[in-house]
């Protein structure tokens, strides 16, 4: 029998670990994605090459095997061991960062050339154009694919259970061993992952709306659908 005590003592701490691993990995992945993604648009071929190599290598490696490698091989090489949770964060962040770099690169490439030219004409340096013109305009394009990746990442965090990080899945396995009730345990796990993914998606919808409002494409909040002032198009024209 699965009891409420099992939920409190095993699942609840597990949920908290899953949230932590997701947040830390997502933060690392975001840093990697923006760094590698923008470097892949560099004018210098060597920079493009190195960033591209990172992308290809980390996209092509199994996150699970990398996890094993960081947890079990790296300590033998360095005589120093990462805390298992951080080994998990590192493996997931570097892998999903590589996926994210493709999103960043694609969104930057979709910013019209005319915007770059306007930036040049006003004397902005390349770095200033990226920071003030290209990335802010590419950002709304990035949000939906980032949402997908974030949910993939959340579900991917279950991998850390195999190196002994006591996340939600690890807790589920413990409870199953203790109670011998596979069906309720794994059903509960599926529902928990789904619920967390759903919350993330809702959150990213808000991020998307705000991002679109930031480039003048939508109102920041749904309930402000009508504006107090008259629309601009009727008040100006050909004066």
């Amino acid at each position: 029998m699965m009891t409420s005590g099992m939920f409190q003592n095993y699942f609840l701490p597990g949920i908290w670990i899953t949230i932590q691993v997701t947040v830390y990995s997502a933060a690392l992945a975001a840093v990697v994605a923006f760094t590698i993604g923008t470097l892949r648009t560099s004018r210098l071929w060597i920079v493009r090459f190195l960033a591209g190599a990172y992308f290809e290598i980390f996209r092509g490696m199994s996150a699970l095997v990398m996890l094993f490698w960081l947890a079990f091989s790296l300590p033998l090489i360095l005589q120093w061991q990462l805390v298992p949770m951080y080994a998990g964060v590192l493996a997931l962040g570097l892998t999903y960062g590589a996926y994210g770099s493709e999103v960043v690169r694609g969104a930057l490439a979709a910013v019209p050339v005319a915007q770059r030219e306007a930036g040049v004409a006003l004397g902005f340096s390349r770095a200033q154009r990226l920071r003030r013109i290209e990335i802010p305009q590419a950002w709304p394009e990035m949000v939906p694919p980032f949402n997908n990746l974030l949910i993939e990442l959340l579900k991917g965090t279950a991998l850390v259970s195999v190196i002994g990080v006591a996340d939600m899945t690890y807790a589920g396995n413990l409870v199953r061993l203790g109670s011998n009730e596979s069906a309720p345990v794994y059903t509960l796990l599926l529902v928990l992952y789904f619920a967390m993914a759903f919350v993330l998606t809702r959150g990213m919808r808000v991020v998307e709306r705000v991002a679109k409002a930031g480039v003048g494409q939508a109102d920041p909040l749904t309930f402000r659908r009508t504006k107090a002032t008259a629309p601009a198009t009727t008040s100006g024209g050909a004066r």
Binding site: Q115, E117, A118, A121, L122, R126, G236, G237
Partner: protein
């Protein structure tokens, strides 16, 4: 390298020396020599594909010439002296000389992620290093000049094409360039919005001492603001003269033929 006398009225501000530009097999500009004096307004006319816009894009450093040199205000734009040798200009040198030039584009190219006022003040703050308050004041003054004060706080997507183009003019002027390049600035506008933009430009042409190089198909505007009109065909200047002369009494058949199609 800077020539101190070059700012004087009538001196050469922009100079092309044997500039050649090719796109693949096509030679767009063929050993072009041409210059524009300080405070003058020069209009380039000619059939499309004759190289007019290429001249503006070369000046704005959006393109690099294949051969020849371009000089702005006594300084080489396309090249620089390094260890006594003339080499292709690096990024730093290009940016320095480019500050003397501003450009208004056919498609406005406002930054959609910034409201009107920030569009105008962004470059003065981050490129010229102007104080925020000072840049904001400069932006407000210029937006008033183009008649859009009530739209300061709107995004470009909330404005009509004509209004966007007037913001783009204010944005270019906020950098206080010595030369303003106008690249078919009314071609993308609905006919009823053209006059508003041209009025603003002709005000600026008559009330400031900015040098203008203008590519346009609006012949009455060209006549109104120009000191000199250059007729282009196939990458060469066919004819050059005062607007009265070119529009009323052109010498070349090619000019006559072209004008008969646009007037």
């Amino acid at each position: 390298m800077t020539n101190d006398t070059s700012r004087a009225n009538g001196a050469e501000l922009v100079r092309f020396d044997k500039v050649t530009k090719r796109f693949g097999e096509v030679t767009v500009l063929d050993e072009l020599d041409f210059s524009v004096a300080t405070n003058k307004h020069v209009t380039l006319i000619g059939p499309s594909g004759s190289g007019k816009t290429t001249i503006l894009r070369l000046l704005m450093t959006l393109l690099k010439p294949d051969e020849g040199t371009i000089t702005v205000d006594g300084e080489l734009l396309t090249h620089e002296q390094k260890n006594g040798k003339l080499v292709r200009a690096g990024e730093r040198h290009t940016r320095e000389v480019r500050k003397k030039i501003g450009m208004v584009f056919q498609q406005f190219n406002l930054f959609p992620n910034m409201k009107v006022q920030r569009n105008v003040m962004e470059a003065p703050v981050h490129v010229l290093g102007l104080d925020k308050d000072e840049a904001a004041q400069r932006a407000k003054d210029l937006i008033e000049l183009v008649g859009l004060t009530e739209h300061l706080d709107k995004y470009p997507s909330q404005l009509s094409g004509g209004q966007q183009q007037r913001v783009a003019i204010a944005r270019a002027l906020a950098m206080r360039p010595q030369v303003l390049l106008l690249d078919e600035v009314t071609s993308a506008l609905d006919p009823e919005l053209v006059a508003g933009v041209l009025d603003v430009l002709s005000d600026i042409a008559h009330s400031t001492d900015i040098t203008m190089i203008c590519v346009t198909h609006e012949m009455s505007f060209a006549r109104d603001i120009s000191d000199r009109v250059l007729m282009f065909d196939k990458g060469k200047i066919v004819e050059s003269g005062s607007p009265e002369k070119i529009f009323s009494d052109p010498e070349h058949d090619r000019t006559r033929e072209f004008l008969s199609t646009v007037l």
